[in-house]
Symmetry: C2
Subunit: 303 residues, 2 copies
């Protein structure tokens, strides 16, 4: 149990109702940027440290024990930088390492599965919920288990969408035009007929199951909201795990009286374990609609 | 799976963004009135049907299978009255019957354990959480399991308070003075030295465990907030399961777009399975600070 961060010690007097320490967000690569984007929009005064473990991306095909050791390693980095809360913004990493990280560190650690699952359980009217996710996440049953833990009467239908991450990243890379409009430009890329056909293949089986709620069970997928929403239709409510996780972040900070002091000018730090920092900065900058010129390489400590 | 209530059918068009159907709340006796009180305050336009199963109270010492059959039976009554959502406002009934009720009925059914557990997990800073509850609830481990399911790094300390229900009810019965002030009068009863001594006996062990958050794990206990808070001190945040459950009710109605139409004048129905309706009306009226003259006896359908 880590209890030694100066930050935690400073809070123990129980008097300070604010906390300017950063929020830590990490993912195996870029997907977690959608969670970061939600936090930046909802809590604009919070400092954030983002770590993308691009050097070892993707986590999906790896052994769970290995991913768990990555999660603990990166959490150590974030705790070492004084983070007051850590978001594991990656489904595979959540499934593999959330519990271990919660046991090891004294700051709260949350994942992306539980918030999305709870929102879906609260939203569905006909109690038929779809989950679209990567193959690894679907196979883990993480969302189905979490949803049925909350409401045993809900039927969950899952569909793996192996090419959605690739399409989401392709759109960001292909987008052209002025800086501010990459995301809207990317949206145009996403709704191309060839991508719609792929989306239909993944989502048509869920539609046929008469779902009224669909969980976007991968942090990349909020980028594809227009594409996915177009295919499933307006009767199906889309649940963004990124958005719901951000709501939990806000709720935890509120309850712990740990928001940044009002007026704090948020500082963002971008770290990648990969070697191509320029590529990371360019891609991340497009997703977050901001200049990531100061992105840096992170040398990982020993596992 | 019940799908036949006219109410549910009416919702299926997906168009109506309001729903004037009542919320159903039930408990083995009076405790659930604290949940009802929170809902009345937070959602003043919602109709509510309250069932107190006084004839078979308390549930605590009964076999879980028997309690489960009571839960299903009373949910059938509430669904039959068109309830759009059911709150099992009793810890024993939640532990015994929540899952079965969720599987059987098409309306959402929620309990009191999960909302209180989640609030505690989000609130604690030192990750040491206390739970005070009846002997049956403590022995079920329901809160400890639920809290550690959310955050595996939290240590939970539980203490059974067998006499708190009796003290809570005694205060309500002993209170004198004008109608509006029964609760404040009851508070004076609760902080008598002899009750404080009992509270200290239950709570001192939790205080010594250095908890910073305490779950009031019985729906009666919000009545004893002043007594309990006085003993544990201001550094310990009290979590009222009643209040947190009410927050979940609001969140579910919001997400399902199922609030009562604005301007609805809330109707309240009070049903007791016991024979002494006058006693039920008098006691409930004091807790809710309103006239329950129209409380009625409920003949239960066959199990």
């Amino acid at each position: 149990m880590d209890t030694s961060t100066p930050h935690t010690a400073a809070r123990d007097d129980g008097l300070d109702a604010f906390d300017n320490a950063p929020i830590g967000v990490f993912d195996s690569g870029y997907g977690g940027l959608t969670v970061m984007r939600e936090i930046m929009a909802a809590l604009p005064e919070e400092d954030i440290v983002y770590v993308g473990d691009s050097a070892r991306c993707p986590y999906g095909p790896r052994d769970l024990d290995e991913v768990r050791s990555f999660v603990r390693q990166i959490c150590r980095v974030l705790v070492g930088r004084g983070c007051k809360l850590i978001v594991i913004a990656c489904n595979t990493a959540t499934a593999a390492g959330l519990e271990a990280a919660q046991r090891e560190f004294s700051v709260p650690v949350i994942g992306v599965v539980e918030p999305g699952a709870r929102a879906a359980a609260m939203t569905t009217r006909n109690r038929r919920v779809g989950v679209v996710a990567t193959r690894a996440t679907v196979d883990s049953n993480a969302y189905a288990d979490a949803i049925r833990h909350i409401d045993a009467g809900i039927t969950v239908f899952s569909s793996a969408a192996p090419r959605f991450v690739e399409i989401a990243e392709l759109g960001i890379r292909m987008a052209e035009g002025p800086f501010e409009s990459y995301l809207s430009e990317a949206s145009k890329v996403y709704i191309r007929p060839e991508f719609e056909e792929i989306a239909r293949e993944y989502l048509e089986p869920l539609r046929r199951c008469d779902i009224d709620t669909l969980v976007l069970g991968c942090t990349h997928y909020p980028l594809l909201k227009a594409l996915i929403g177009g295919v499933v239709g307006r009767d199906v409510t889309l649940i963004s795990s990124a958005e719901e996780t951000c709501r939990d972040v806000a709720e935890i900070l509120r309850r712990r009286r740990a928001f940044a002091r009002p007026g704090n000018v948020a500082a963002y730090e971008f770290l990648t374990t990969g070697d191509d920092v320029a590529e990371f900065a360019q891609f991340g900058g497009r997703v977050l609609n901001m200049d990531l010129a100061r992105a840096r390489h992170l040398d990982l400590p020993p596992l």
